[in-house]
Symmetry: C4
Subunit: 252 residues, 4 copies
């Protein structure tokens, strides 16, 4: 991850758009990164669909999920997801919350996603389930209170993915590129697992395989290849974010 | 919703194209809005695939579904769906009838769609079923007579969605943007529910959750975010409608 | 259908590309139309993927499926499908043979497609099955001999669609636009029917409904609306055929 | 296949992009061809997503999978798949390893893909299964050691496709165009077979049909038609590789 803040902000905008273009995010969902110089802050866009995020949309937040500068524009309602996880997990440098179509059927049926392919091993051996109703009863299912965020962070524990009943998933990573890969591989793995049910019983990797294959998306050859590929696809769709130094486009 | 008629007509054309681009409408289906100044009229395009609707295609109808000015161009055969619902439901400001691919399997199997995700709660606790055959025997399944329209409106009752056996769905809203969100969330919810059957049993939201989450798509931060997102996708596909003041393009 | 040959050839090229763009045809499949002035001839492209067919590719054939002018370019191997059906069915003015992805699972499982939606009624009450193996034993499954073509035409009988085991489907129409609609509605109906199996048991239309709804795609308002819509989608994809009078593009 | 090396390299770059564009390859997977003049060498890109491969990326390898000229850029980790198969099978002129979404559910459920359509016969009667765990215990599932490559080649035997548990498939051909067709037809056949499970039991071709239909994709009329079609789709997506003689584009 870049140490330079401008570069990191540009990479975060790009990560937003890659995840939207690859189907992990849609109108909703958000991606954040911990501040490279101050572990007590994180960077996240103002409330905006990820496909549209530009570097100038990115704001700084404390771990209480308050913006450092009082902003006039609307903010994501569920930003406590990010703040609470950064508080609980010092190893986490990036967080993505999403409602990917590949993952939702598992959230609806209450079935865990397990690694069934070598790339899917990136999600780890277990994806714990969190049902907001268990602790908070009837809500609108948005994670907006600090208590809700802390509860979700506890359910995540030391894992890399937590599934949210009737809602979606939250994924964490040791860096932005790792997070992007894991989020996309989670969706692919979920799709394979779901379709394998048509043919018989999906068979998860052996425990030792999960450990060994879990790091494939961190291999330098792999991380650069996927990043180049997803960026190229975004470019071909003319959907790259504007460069970091450019002025905000006027909205019509 | 805009009070200004020109702006509302432009928004209706945009709603047509958003719903087509997001897969709720295809060659068929139609979207209407109640007249902002006269609750006894509604606005609807002439017969045309929604993806092609321009502001100049939009006509005014009485609640008997007669055009105010006798038109030479063909009109939608099923416009009584709109008129009859506006008669029965003074709270309804916008109506969409569609044959979305995500919804049809439910109409074919005769199974209700139930809210299984927080955004899906926008459809309400129950989606009643209407089978034209029950009351009218063998027909071509198009809803073209006043009696058929009134029967459908009765089946809808105070709900937000009515499923039509072997045919499609009709969705209502308190405004155009609410309608557009609900129609798209209905499709997504249907897809999640259908796919969850591969994994086990889809589990609906708790009743209290449905009530609370039902309003998410009315939150100002959400309604603007989704509208911006869907409009951007339309623009990226170069499929925005021409501006309201522009002349009708000659058809070749 | 245009009586003018130039216009009909242009319409046939357009029909090829619409069917390819809407997913009924891919690298394979072909569409023909009976000659408007001579019922003993039909028009069909030289061997070429339908998405690429231009008016200059269209040749005339006798009902024995011999080209009127000896052509140097390769011809479709399976053109007897067209000739044999035109011989057997004087009411048929257009024929499409395809391997659509929505239809193949039925050809693989040996299950009939039945009309489950009002638009799907265009396929008629029954889609007979033809297994080339029954009469001809082991073949490469291509329908290339006159005997094979006649056998397929017998299986089609007076129906509108015949399913071909392990192979695809052949669809007929009283005109090109009717054929195009029926081919596309067949694919949509197949998809709805297949997905309904995830939810329960697909329920076909009542017999009387099939008869009445079967003609919807012949209603003037419908046939023009769908043709305009599918053409617009082709145009938006910059995939319209060159005009009939233009010279063949040199291939690089 | 071209004997001229420049033309063959151009064809290999094109094959990479066709397979990526048709969904057989994504960020991962690779395609090689045996050197036309020296059966002891093969051509394969440096480590790069296939959609991005340019003629200048293509390097020569010995059958031990060592590059002839020591390269500074990263190489595919799994290139032993290619070398070991070229050693074992003198009839094989081209190899593709991929993780296609249509194939993965079979690799996850441990179920073989069998030819269920006439084009699917290109895969042959049987697709043997290889589970790296059987011989090598816990690994990261990448095929990187000579022993692993030889084991995979043994599992392939005299077949055309080998399925790799939790991983993907490896496909071979007597030439590049045959390989491309077989890889794409494998994906389509897998999708038909999987979906047929929703309807009943997928029925494979008769053994004699498999033999006869297996050669369809080698018919001159077919091989040229598919190649033209897939190239046209790539061109329409503005994704053709740069010509063989052009300089490498600077990466930004």
């Amino acid at each position: 991850m870049p140490n330079n803040l401008t570069d990191l902000v540009a990479e975060l905008a790009l990560a937003n758009r890659i995840l939207a273009h690859e189907g992990a995010l849609d109108a909703f969902g958000h991606v954040s990164v911990r501040h490279p110089a101050d572990p007590g802050r994180y960077l996240l866009s103002r409330s905006r669909s990820p496909q549209l995020v530009e570097p100038t949309d990115i704001l700084e937040y404390t771990l209480d999920s308050e913006p450092l500068k009082r902003a006039k524009m609307p903010l994501y309602a569920e930003r406590v997801i990010h703040g609470c996880i950064y508080q609980a997990r010092s190893d986490v440098m990036a967080v993505c919350h999403h409602h990917a179509a590949a993952v939702l059927p598992f959230c609806v049926a209450g079935k865990p996603i397990v690694p069934v392919s070598h790339l899917g091993a990136a999600i780890g051996e277990e994806t714990p389930f969190w049902d907001q109703h268990d602790e908070f009863g009837d809500t609108n299912l948005l994670v907006v209170k600090q208590d809700e965020g802390h509860s979700l962070a506890r359910a995540l524990g030391h894992h890399s993915v937590v599934l949210m009943k009737h809602h979606g998933a939250t994924v964490v990573g040791g860096g932005l590129k790792e997070l992007v890969s894991r989020s996309i591989f989670l969706c692919q793995n979920a799709e394979y697992q779901m379709h394998a049910h048509m043919l018989g019983t999906p068979q998860p990797l052996h425990r030792g395989e999960i450990e060994l294959a879990g790091g494939i998306n961190l291999l330098p050859g792999v991380i650069e290849r996927t990043w180049e590929y997803w960026s190229m696809r975004l470019k071909a769709a003319r959907a790259l974010p504007p460069p970091a130094g450019s002025k905000r486009k006027k909205r019509r």
